[in-house]
């Protein structure tokens, strides 16, 4: 398995996805997930700029200037794909027709609040589809490293950054562990790659429950 924690997080998150699901993948770690999905995964990737059925990146001779994902990167469309306008795309999201959104975050609180669009003191001029996805998708999985690039815990008691949505996160996957939100609180359900509960505690300011059947997993 890769030494890059981002790849390990993506690989673990890929195992959360169920066959037949419609999934929207955010920029960054979520976009690494397709490489860890086998053919049997059979998930349908939705991109909010108007396509259900996103395929792999194009070969040079397949590049099509009318075909991009929400990160504005060139993509392909798989057989069975469907195109639609932005109002319908977000009706799918808001209406609960997208099963799972996987996205990165700046902070997740112990209540499942998420902050992933703005940093205090910086420009708050770009939100895109982040709020729609975390409110609308039936399940929200956050993939992120446990700490920021400056070593600050990202799983926190309370978000200090502007919220994207309150109590919206269902699952958090970091390089250390997996949390699920149960009864409105984070619950540690799995330790990854030899991490201990103390390792997890050392890198979070959040209070969390520990699952009775805590799994010790590796990817």
């Amino acid at each position: 398995m890769s030494d890059d924690p981002r790849h390990r997080i993506a690989a673990r998150a890929a195992r959360e996805l169920r066959p037949g699901e419609v999934v929207n993948l955010g920029i960054g770690i979520p976009n690494l997930i397709p490489r860890f999905l086998g053919d049997e995964a059979n998930v349908f990737v939705h991109t909010e700029n108007g396509l259900l059925g996103v395929g792999p990146p194009p070969a040079d001779d397949e590049l099509d200037e009318d075909l991009i994902d929400a990160a504005k990167r060139p993509i392909t469309a798989l057989p069975g794909a469907a195109y639609f306008d932005s109002a319908q795309s977000f009706a799918m999201i808001r209406g609960g027709h997208v099963d799972t959104a996987v996205l990165g975050a700046l902070q997740v609180s112990e209540r499942g609040d998420i902050a992933n669009w703005a940093v205090p003191g910086k420009d708050v001029l770009g939100v895109g589809g982040a709020m729609d996805l975390v409110v609308g998708a039936r399940r929200v999985i956050v993939t992120m490293t446990a700490t920021s690039s400056t070593g600050e815990p990202k799983i926190v008691e309370r978000c200090s950054f502007p919220l994207t949505a309150a109590a919206a996160v269902d699952t958090v996957v970091t390089e250390l562990c997996v949390f699920h939100r149960r009864d409105g609180r984070l619950c540690l359900t799995e330790l990854l790659d030899g991490a201990t509960i103390d390792d997890v505690r050392a890198l979070t300011t959040a209070r969390f429950a520990v699952d009775e059947a805590l799994a010790v997993g590796s990817v």
């Binding site: 200037e65 195109y83 895109g128």
Partner: protein, 219 residues
Amino acid sequence: MTLDGITTAEDAVAHVRSGDTVMVGGFGLVGAPLTLIDALVELSDATDLTIVSNNIGEPGRGLGKLLRQGRIRRGISSYFTSNPEAVDAVNAGEMEATLLPQGTFAEAIRAGGAGVGGFFTPVGAGTLLAEGKEERMLDGVPHVLELPLQADVALVYAARADRLGNLWYRHTARNFNPLMATAARVTIVEAGEVLEVGELEPESIHTPHLYVDFLVERR
């Protein structure tokens, strides 16, 4: 539309007046009506514009050209950040910015074209983007009242149009274009290809011609 043929880009953009609100299609530059934007930049002196578009182009490209001319008084958008010059213009007080979640932005345009006086959405409730907006609990969930968006002029790109103004969009270049085509007093379409009446299959028409006022060929 009473189309007796195709309009020049110069004649078409003469319908944009100073102080107007102008909707411009596209997700980034994909699906953006670049010929019409260039005509607005080069052949029109309308200024003090309110631009409704998902992004304000890119530096020196698309709407980024109009921005450099200082002709955008206000932007209504979900993602200004894709053009750092737009962020600079806002911070310098040269442009006002109204930021909306992308799904709210799309739905507000749809509502504007469909005669709907507003809508309550859970997206954005409890966040910075709900400030100053009416909130209401509906079925136990906080919602925000969003008002429709309408424009004086919409600039739209479609891959194919027939001479009546029926439109067909291609791949992810559809995005906001069909919504904006419905929401303006004057809708100007830039078409990649202009077909004779009857050449578009009726079932495959995305925008029926009654929304379209002027047709310009892509340069």
